[in-house]
């Protein structure tokens, strides 16, 4: 039986998530794995926004920040369970994305980039400056999700690292599944169409403004949930999560891996998460090597790592 690309992607992901732990020499690898998955989730949102719909955002870390601080603040101030805080963060992000997206998505290219950048900076500025509420630049503690304890009661005793590895992995699988469904669906096609030609998309009946907004909101939710997972996992969060560098990092991961494909982008998240860990051996040269890798990949594998490699393997195209 031949697998569709969607099934192949999900299967690859699931197998990787399930099997790699057998090769982990220590608990630290679970931590790195979990980080890859959390980043992978945010980057999947970027695939929808940038890969499918062709809209660039340099402010998505703002939504990650909202997701993260929802988990830090809501349990304390509203007394709700952290799990609901994740949902609350996602809802706030979605609403905010909707409000912000309506005016700024009319902008194109770099103008959209700078507007979204402005949004991201505003969020991180609020997180930094409203010290009373957010703890300011020094960060704030985050409540425990409590799911690990619950699993323990059911006889599944995981270390903290293991739990977050599998839990984030599961979330990523779910996120990837949703994004892959979207790709070949009418909405996904409409998004890709407006990427190609907005005018033509409009004349075939695509409500371009609404479609872009849809993509923006959905990708914001991805970023928000990713931020929430990060906060819950670290049990401590600082405004860096909403910072400009984090936004850039998301886009870079996606483009490096292959912004047009979910698996590619996740692959990119993996590479850029792993690279600093590998490079600690020559810490001095870390930035040098990181910059070099980014340039080389984009020069020689311009569609991104994974799509280019697959294309080479399949032997089609240049």
């Amino acid at each position: 039986m031949k697998l569709t690309p969607k099934q192949a992607t999900l299967l690859t992901l699931a197998v990787l998530i399930a099997l790699t732990p057998f090769f982990f020499p220590s608990g630290y690898y679970y931590r790195v794995g979990a980080l890859i998955f959390v980043n992978g989730l945010a980057v999947t949102g970027i695939v929808i926004l940038t890969g499918y719909a062709g809209q660039i955002s340099l402010g998505h870390a703002g939504f990650a920040g909202i997701g993260a601080y929802a988990c830090a603040l809501a349990p304390v101030h509203l007394g709700i369970h952290p799990a609901f805080a994740v949902v609350l963060g996602a809802v706030i992000s979605a609403v905010l994305a909707w409000l912000v997206g309506r005016p700024i998505l009319r902008l194109k290219g770099y103008y959209l980039a700078v507007a979204s950048l402005g949004f991201g900076i505003l969020v991180s500025m609020v997180l930094n400056n409203e010290r009373e509420l957010t703890g300011g630049p020094d960060g704030i503690d985050v409540a425990d999700l409590g799911l690990r304890g619950l699993l323990k009661d059911f006889g599944l005793d995981l270390t903290n690292g293991e739990f977050w590895y599998f839990f984030s992995g599961l979330c990523l699988l779910l996120g990837a599944w949703l994004a892959l469904n979207l790709y070949n669906s009418p909405t996904g096609r409409a998004l890709r169409a407006l990427h190609g030609s907005e005018i033509a998309a409009r004349t075939v009946g695509v409500d371009v403004a609404r479609m872009k907004l849809n993509a923006f909101v959905v990708s914001a939710v991805y970023a928000s949930v990713s931020g929430s997972l990060l906060a819950l996992q670290n049990k401590f969060i600082t405004p860096d999560v909403a910072g400009f560098m984090h936004s850039i990092e998301m886009v870079t991961m996606a483009v490096l891996g292959g912004v047009g494909s979910v698996l590619g982008a996740i692959f990119g998240a993996g590479i850029l998460t792993l690279l600093p860990q590998v490079l600690t051996v020559f810490a001095e040269y870390e930035q040098l090597v990181l910059g070099l890798v980014m340039m080389l990949v984009m020069i020689f594998l311009r569609e991104g790592l994974l799509p280019s490699i697959l294309r080479k393997l399949r032997g089609t195209g240049e």
Partner: protein, 233 residues
């Protein structure tokens, strides 16, 4: 003047020109006709150097052209009015024309521009407007005029009559015919095969990346196969 031998070219892994042989003599008008996707545009792109050649030889005025980068080919006298017009949409009509004469910095530029305006008066009216605002046909005229500003000794025209009003079409063909007097060689790709063959000296027929027929223009017009497949008569 221009000879092409065994020319092959590909997009990625797919070869679209499978060994083209063709020649254009000095002062000649030669036309290439063929169906959509036959490879006519690709052929012209190879000649102007914006499309990589995988095998074969292009010789222009006795020199091998293949190693010459695209931007140097105009210096050798080879100009192209490309498919899709490819004008500088953000620049004005006049700037487009001036850039057509990018290589020259002499009084003749003004004169050539005057000639271009003579030929297409509408361009004079629009000289200070962004070329992107022109109508399709006006852009086509601009592309043709810009190619002429480069003072070519050999002109490659990719469907110059596309999108032009009937009056202008006949005018364009007249211009092309007139180039002969100026000793400009022309390689003309046309879908208006009838019009093209009427002004051409010789013609080639291209089918899926190969030359399948060639001969004097009158012969081709008379050939029943051509009449049926390309002239629709």
């Amino acid at each position: 003047m221009l000879t092409v031998e065994g020319l092959r070219s590909r997009y990625g892994r797919i070869e679209v020109l499978h060994g083209i042989d063709l020649s254009v003599d000095s002062g000649e008008i030669v036309t290439v006709v063929g169906a959509n996707g036959a490879g006519k545009t690709t052929l012209l792109r190879c000649l102007s150097g914006v499309q990589p050649v995988t095998a074969g030889q292009i010789t222009f005025r006795g020199e091998a052209l293949t190693p010459v980068p695209a931007y140097k080919r105009l210096r050798r006298g080879l100009a192209q009015s490309p498919e899709g017009r490819q004008i500088f949409t953000n620049l004005t009509v006049e700037e487009n024309l001036r850039l057509g004469a990018f290589l020259f910095n002499d009084d003749r530029v003004e004169k050539d521009m005057e000639d271009a305006f003579q030929m297409f008066p509408i361009l004079r009216e629009k000289r200070n407007l962004a070329a992107g605002g022109l109508s399709g046909g006006q852009q086509q005229m601009l592309a043709m005029a810009r190619a002429l500003m480069g003072r070519p000794s050999c002109l490659l025209l990719d469907e110059p009559s596309m999108g032009l009003a009937p009056i202008i079409v006949s005018q364009i063909f007249d211009v092309v015919k007139g180039l002969k007097a100026l000793d400009v060689t022309v390689l003309l790709v046309e879908q208006n095969a009838f019009g093209a063959l009427k002004i051409a000296d010789r013609g080639y027929v291209m089918e899926t990346g190969r030359i399948t027929m060639s001969g004097a223009a009158e012969e081709l017009i008379a050939d029943p196969r051509i009449r049926e497949a390309y002239l629709g008569i």
